[in-house]
Subunit: 118 residues, 2 copies
DNA sequence: CGTCAATATCGACAGTCGTCGATGGCTGCG
DNA sequence: CGCAGCCATCGACGACTGTCGATATTGACG
C-alpha cells in the first residue's frame, strides 16, 4: 500500500454542496497516523536533510551528526518515516540509503487543504 | 541567521556535504507543534465537524455526540486546536462557538508541500 | 576465517498524551 | 434569589513516545 490517504472522493465535483460530509472515523485514523509520523521536530529535520542531501538520498551516518542524536534514535525515526510511507529505504552493501517518496508529502498537504475544508 | 553548517567532510565514502539548507531546528519545532495538534483522529474529526456544521461554526454540545467522547475531553481537544491557531473560540452567552481559522490549514499544507521539498 | 564498520533491534526509563469523573464558574430564566 | 444548563479546569490513571546504552546482524575486506 502506498499511503492510506486515498480519501473517499466521489466524482461529484460539479455542484459544491453547502454542507460537506465530515471525515469518516477510519479516514481520520489513517490521516492521524501519517500526521503523527510528521509531528516530531527531529523527523521533520530528517526529512528535510534527506531531501536536501546530494542525490536526494542519505544514509544514517549522514544524519546522526546534523540532528545531534544517537545512531539508534536516528534509525528509529527513519523507520517511523518509512512505515508511514514518507521515505524509502534502499540498502546497498553496508549502507542504507533513505529518500523521499515522490508525492507523499504533497498527498498529505492536499488532504489537509481539501478534505478538511467545509 | 546563517548557521555555520560545518560539513565535517570525512574521508568516508558515504558522507557528502549538503547542497541546500534544510529546515532550521526552531522552524521544525514550530511546525511539529502545529502538526502535533493535527495528529489525532478525534481532533481531525472535530475540525471536519466544525467545518461541515451549519454556518461553519459549532458549539461543544454539537460535537460531543458525533465523536462519542465526554464533554471534558471534547473541550480539551478544542482547546488544543485553538492554541495551535487552527480554531477560533467565540463565547456568546452560555454557548462557545468554534470555527475554522481561514487559511490556517492551507498554510500548514503549503509548508508541508514546499518547505520540506529540499 | 576474523575483524571492522554501518545499521537494526532490544530493554529500560522518563516524559507526554488522551481520557475520564468530579468540580467550579457563568449565564439565562423562573 | 435560586435553579438548571453549558462549558472549562482539575486530578488521576493507563498508554504511548522519544531517547539512550548494550547487543545482534549484516556486508566488505584482508
Amino acid at each position: 500500500m502506498t499511503t492510506a490517504l486515498h480519501a473517499t472522493v466521489e466524482a461529484q465535483a460539479c455542484c459544491a454542496p453547502l454542507v460537506a460530509a465530515p471525515i469518516s472515523p477510519p479516514d481520520a485514523e489513517a490521516l492521524a497516523r501519517t500526521l503523527k509520523a510528521l509531528a516530531d521536530p527531529t523527523r521533520l529535520r530528517l526529512l528535510s536533510l534527506v531531501a536536501a542531501h546530494e542525490g536526494g538520498e542519505a544514509c544514517v551516518c549522514d544524519l546522526t551528526d546534523p540532528v545531534g542524536l544517537s545512531q539508534p534514535t536516528v534509525s528509529h525515526h527513519l523507520k517511523v518515516l518509512v512505515d508511514a510511507g514518507l521515505l524509502t529505504r534502499d540498502k546497498r552493501g553496508v549502507w542504507a540509503y533513505y529518500a523521499l517518496v515522490p508525492g507523499a508529502l504533497d498527498s498529505v498537504a492536499a488532504v489537509l487543504a481539501t478534505r478538511l475544508r467545509g
